[in-house]
Symmetry: C2
Subunit: 201 residues, 2 copies
DNA sequence: TGTAAAAGTGACCACAAGTTCACAAAGGGG
DNA sequence: CCCCTTTGTGAACTTGTGGTCACTTTTACA
């Protein structure tokens, strides 16, 4: 029987992705070294050739997720010209990302991880909020162009934007029903888009 | 040394409250029989005189939390006449409840528990959503009175209402900063109240 | 081709979890 | 006053966790 040897950098990435996959399926409490190793068809101890401890793996996963989120924003901005169209596209895509790639937002709901790794709070918060900051910037520019109302601060609107998908995703996480999720978020977006229109005095 | 013996029904309640308290401080992963027992100054095995297993304790905690949420809604409706005032009061009070009594929403973020007790999904979802349903009812009545805009369905507005506190509470959970939390939710509420005003055509 | 570094293995450790069980102490009803 | 039910105890078992280590296998490079 020949053992398959994989290059170091590539292995690190494989482990991070395997960990994300496990996290997606089994949640934070289910993220164990043994499962990550099993997913790669490797002995648990092999993992420690590439990461000093579990905390480092969690870090790698968080970095991976952060990059994925940023990619989504960039692509949405490229594909749509009108700011509100871009935000609508981003909303649906980010929701889909949370559900499909992250298993119903298991990641941003991984306060579980925090119980064992309290020092990761900042990292997770950053991931959650980088989206809000990007959205805030987009809304601010749109307000200056007169496309959205300017009587409400952009950062407040951005927080409401986060509120459009976060609760429904939590609901989906608990009860399932993907088609329903998409419909709900679309409905929320439609209402938000209406309410964000410039006001005639 | 005299041992203190406690009546059965009272003990069950004590255990549920102790479990909630542990959950508040240590999160779902930190909710262990040993800690609950320690909180009551009792041997772990004593717990099993009153509950068949840990799942039953989780059930009891969820029931307890559900009752607390309903109480908050009832009290807010009693104390304020104007629907929007009642909703504003409820928002701040519910936020405070999540943070203070539930430890920054550790409860509704206890997807962690789900990893080990998947059958509790329905229970948790019910707790999260009973608030939205009550709010939806209040908004519907307000819309009929012409107090809030009626071009957006009440249940959609109710979902946005949940979005006013849920993301900030998650943020607080991750980074702390209670005073900031209160300010953010108030800011959100103010914006929501403005945007929910009836529209002049 | 030879050899040292890199990668993988499997046995093992200490620990904490949920749970069980034989036994001891308290309390209430006859 | 006795006895039986209820409540509490402490030790133990099982399982799964993160992590270590001596050892083997592959790979890359001189």
């Amino acid at each position: 029987m020949t053992r398959e040897y994989v290059d170091g950098a590539k292995r690190r990435d494989q482990i991070a992705r395997a960990a994300l996959s496990v996290l997606t399926r089994d949640g934070g409490a289910g993220l164990t070294i043994r499962r990550v190793a099993a997913k790669l068809g490797v002995a648990p101890s092999a993992i420690y050739r590439h990461f000093p401890d579990k905390g480092a793996i969690v870090d790698a996963v968080l970095t991976l997720v952060g990059e994925m989120i940023q990619d989504n924003v960039d692509r949405a901005l490229e594909e749509e010209d009108h700011p509100l169209d871009a935000l609508g596209l981003l909303l649906m895509r980010h929701t889909h990302f949370l559900v499909s790639d992250l298993g119903a937002g298991h990641i941003f709901l991984t306060t579980e991880i925090l119980a064992h790794y309290p020092d990761k709070n900042q990292r997770i918060a950053t991931n959650v909020e980088q989206l809000a900051e990007r959205v805030s910037g987009i809304l601010l520019r749109a307000a200056k162009q007169g496309i959205v109302r300017s009587d409400i601060p952009a950062h407040v609107l951005a927080r409401m934007y986060v509120g459009l998908f976060q609760p429904p995703v939590l609901h989906y996480q608990l009860l399932g029903g993907l088609t329903h999720l998409v419909g709900v978020v679309e409905e929320n977006w439609s209402a938000f888009r209406t309410m964000v229109q410039p006001q005639i005095k």
